[in-house]
């Protein structure tokens, strides 16, 4: 399981690509999908590489990304 998951709000995404550029691990890419406005939306091209750092969401100008991270297991101790 990857450490992080990025969820794209396809209707908010304007396909500017800033998140793709900013991701340190090359997780994101353009999908072949267009939203109803006609923008080519972003998706997790390599989900296994995601660390859940949320840099993508921070640079996203359209607040189109939500980020989830795996809870640390050590809390059980």
């Amino acid at each position: 399981m990857p450490k992080g998951i990025v969820v794209v709000d396809k209707e908010r995404c304007k396909g500017c690509g800033l998140c793709i550029e900013a991701c340190p691990f090359g997780v994101l890419g353009f999908s072949s999908e267009y939203n109803s406005s006609g923008y080519q939306v972003v998706y997790m091209e390599h989900p296994d590489k995601c660390t859940g750092c949320a840099i993508c969401a921070n640079v996203c100008p359209d607040v189109a990304l939500e980020v989830y991270r795996q809870e640390p297991a050590k809390e059980a101790a």
Partner: protein, 255 residues
């Protein structure tokens, strides 16, 4: 969010849209830094827990629809007059947290007088000044902050300082005054700078809560549409070129 993805167990949400923002989609162009700056202001309002007593002043320009994006009270000001409107609100109801959000045309051209005099009076307001060196909404005309040589629709051969004046350094000017408490210049072209800009915005709001007076955060921004650059190239242009004319950092801080 219109999201259908099921998140497996064991994951926690660590980033989502701030509460201060509404569900309305931004009207900014793809890749425009305005969207980041707008979100940072909303995050600051969330973190300080002041949504219910905040009043924003929407300018004329690309952020003219700002009131749609926020969940707090808003007033729409005439072009350039945001600081005067903010002054009136703050004087009438000092308990409110009042901020303006203005572009360079609004704040540094037609509103220069209002800006300088509000700063000089030390009005206890927070000013977010988005500087992208161009008039975005009207079609990419020269702004007072346009760089020398920069092509705009009203400087088709590039800004020539002898004809069109020099870049107006509003933050440096305001820092000379006795009125302001905090004047800083930030940028949002990468993660590190976004984090710093957020801290500056938080401080500018905290200053108001503590009664310290006029705080202005200038944020270097992009206009991919009118600069005719890709969003990524526009960010690099800020990082490599714009900062030479507009160096980042605090210009005044009374602490």
């Amino acid at each position: 969010m219109s999201v259908e993805v099921a998140i497996p167990e064991g994951y926690v949400k660590i980033f989502s849209k701030p509460r201060a923002l509404s569900d309305a989609k931004y009207t900014y162009c793809p890749g425009c830094h305005h969207g980041i700056i707008t979100r940072l202001v909303a995050e600051a309002i969330d973190e300080l827990g002041i949504l219910e007593r905040t009043v924003g002043i929407a300018p004329v320009g690309c952020a003219v629809f700002l009131d749609r994006f926020f969940n707090c009270d808003f007033v729409q000001a005439a072009h350039g007059r945001a600081c005067a409107v903010a002054t009136g609100i703050k004087r009438a109801r000092p308990d409110l947290v009042v901020f303006t959000y203005q572009g360079d045309g609004d704040l540094a051209a037609i509103g220069t007088a209002e800006t300088i005099h509000a700063a000089n009076r030390g009005e206890n307001i927070t000013v977010i000044f988005v500087n992208n060196g161009i008039y975005g909404m009207t079609g990419g005309e020269m702004a007072p902050t346009t760089l020398p040589g920069q092509r705009t629709t009203t400087t088709p051969l590039g800004r020539e300082p002898r004809l069109h004046g020099f870049p107006l350094k509003i933050s440096e000017m305001l820092a000379q005054l006795d009125g302001p408490a905090y004047i800083t210049r930030q940028a949002v072209f990468d993660y590190k700078h976004i984090v710093r800009a957020k801290q500056a915005i938080l401080k500018a709001f905290r200053n108001q809560l503590e009664g310290k007076g006029f705080s202005l955060v200038e944020i270097l921004s992009t206009c991919p549409t009118n600069w005719r650059m890709s969003p990524a190239d526009a960010g690099r242009w800020v990082a490599e070129e714009v900062v030479k004319t507009y160096p980042l950092g605090d210009l005044k801080d009374v602490g």
